[in-house]
């Protein structure tokens, strides 16, 4: 697995798109910090960008890489290695190269601004961690979609729809159902609903750490009331981890039964 990872990682790190993605975060980081002149405000703005952008880039990269390297994957499948090795290796290659772009792209401007002299370092690290989680989750989900759809156009469509669902549609549905059922107690429903969306989870995770109750929103406030801040943080981190593992397991199982 490490071998496959090593080569797909070094392939992806040299791709033009990795550089563009890195450059985007570099520009974003510098602009936010030097225009805002405030680290904590910059972290909040970045959070709003990261929770939408990392899932989108993860989804698009994941699905594009899978379809583009199909013939090469066939060549690898004919080698004496396990199927799970190939797919996990490629999965790690995509996820880690994207995460590296994120970490470098935001880390460099923040270090240049003097991150270590401020109290924001923990918040910033958590922001990067949640961005990394979202990347891993959405790359895994998009590879699963690609494994289930040999038709490229369909697979691409489903992947974009999946991103749109978690980033936009999901919240709309929850809001709508809460309005319709407002006469009923909805706390538990809303809490469970937030477990089921990794984007919501990562938003709650960062906001709990930032400790800004005004931005927490309904589900975030529920989280805080239900678990308290520190337990809330661990619970949301644990759930994010579960969100990485589940599509990973699905990917391994589906790939072992697929025809290529």
């Amino acid at each position: 697995m490490i071998k496959i990872f090593k080569y797909s990682f070094s392939d992806l790190m040299r791709s033009r798109w990795s550089f563009i993605y890195l450059a985007f975060y570099l520009v974003l980081g510098f602009v936010l910090l030097f225009l805002n002149n405030d680290l904590s405000k910059a972290v909040i703005t970045l959070m709003n960008v990261i929770v939408v952008l990392t899932p989108m880039i993860g989804t698009i990269f994941g699905i594009m890489y899978f379809y583009n390297s199909r013939e090469f994957t066939e060549l690898l499948l004919a080698q004496p290695v396990r199927r799970s090795t190939i797919f996990l290796g490629q999965y790690l290659g995509i996820s880690i190269s994207l995460t590296l772009s994120l970490v470098l792209g935001l880390g460099i401007p923040f270090l240049a601004y003097g991150l270590f002299q401020s109290g924001e370092i923990a918040n910033f690290l958590l922001l990067l961690i949640s961005g990394a989680f979202l990347t891993f989750i959405f790359v895994a989900l998009s590879i699963c979609i690609a494994l289930f759809n040999s038709n490229k156009i369909k697979g691409f469509g489903y992947a974009i729809l999946m991103w749109l669902f978690f980033a936009v549609i999901y919240d709309g549905i929850i809001l709508l159902s809460m309005m319709i059922f407002q006469d009923y107690p909805l706390d538990n429903f809303a809490l469970v609903a937030s477990f089921l969306n990794p984007i919501d989870l990562s938003r709650i995770l960062v906001l709990l750490k930032l400790d800004i109750s005004a931005l927490l929103g309904y589900t975030g406030a529920l989280f805080q009331r239900f678990f308290g801040t520190s337990l809330g943080l661990s619970v949301s981190l644990g759930l994010m981890l579960l969100w990485v593992i589940m599509p990973g397991v699905l990917m391994v199982r589906k790939s072992s039964k697929n025809d290529f």
């Binding site: 080569y7 992806l12 199909r70 090469f72 066939e74 060549l75 080698q79 004496p80 025809d259 290529f260």
Partner: protein
């Protein structure tokens, strides 16, 4: 060496292979022929472990290939379409495949034979189709595998490289290897193959030497023999 027993595969309602049954014991060049969609590639993909058969078994050296991936150490594979990660260099891809297979490789004579020295540090994404196919050939023949599977090996090759490839295939045959080849170019098959498997609608319609096929169909050459089978 290779035993195929009652092999069946269908995609949904479409039956691609139906009860294929044969054995290959001794070395030589075996051509798998058939019209488009007759199941040639599917059969090779099952042999290589890329497609999982509906029923039936393939045994390699007495072992069921579905049970372990180790047998693939003994099979070299030249895929029909040569596509590699765009940003790796030729040298890196050669290292990668050798790394993944974990057996000794000898790429240098092949690199020299196909004149790839000047391309070694070039990125694979910048190479032409023919050059990529040459890299593909190096990746297949750099291992000393007792079985070699060639799926349309001549695609995109210039005549000089084609002659080199043919002599390479013959050299491997002299070493007593089993070479399975599919091609739409009948002159190539006629030149190389010792035995022919002709697939038609998922079953083996004919198995034997090219001479036997010609006699059976009373045709002057292989191309006409096959045309006679398809349009009697």
């Amino acid at each position: 060496m290779i035993q195929v027993k009652n092999l069946t595969k269908s995609y949904g309602k479409l039956k691609v292979l139906e009860d294929i049954h044969f054995e290959i014991e001794k070395g030589g060049i075996y051509a798998i022929l058939g019209p488009n969609g007759s199941g040639k590639t599917t059969f090779l993909k099952i042999l290589l472990g890329m497609v999982i058969p509906g029923s039936g078994e393939i045994h390699y050296n007495g072992e069921d290939i579905l049970k372990s991936h180790e047998y693939r150490k003994h099979i070299g594979y030249l895929p029909q379409i040569a596509r590699f990660p765009d940003n790796l260099t030729v040298k890196e891809i050669i290292h990668m495949i050798a790394d993944v297979r974990e057996i000794d490789s000898l790429p240098e004579p092949l690199i020299a034979l196909f004149g790839l020295d000047s391309f070694l540090d070039k990125k694979l994404g910048t190479l032409s189709g023919g050059t990529r196919q040459k890299v593909n050939i190096v990746l297949t023949f750099m291992f000393d595998s007792p079985v070699i599977v060639l799926d349309e090996p001549t695609a995109g090759l210039d005549p000089v490289s084609l002659i080199k490839l043919k002599s390479l295939i013959n050299e491997e045959k002299e070493k007593g290897k089993i070479i399975l080849i599919t091609s739409h170019i009948m002159s190539l098959v006629e030149e190389l193959a010792d035995e022919v498997f002709f697939l038609l609608e998922g079953s083996i319609y004919f198995q034997g030497t090219i001479d036997a096929l010609r006699r059976k169909t009373a045709a002057s050459n292989l191309e006409h023999a096959i045309a006679k089978i398809l349009e009697p």
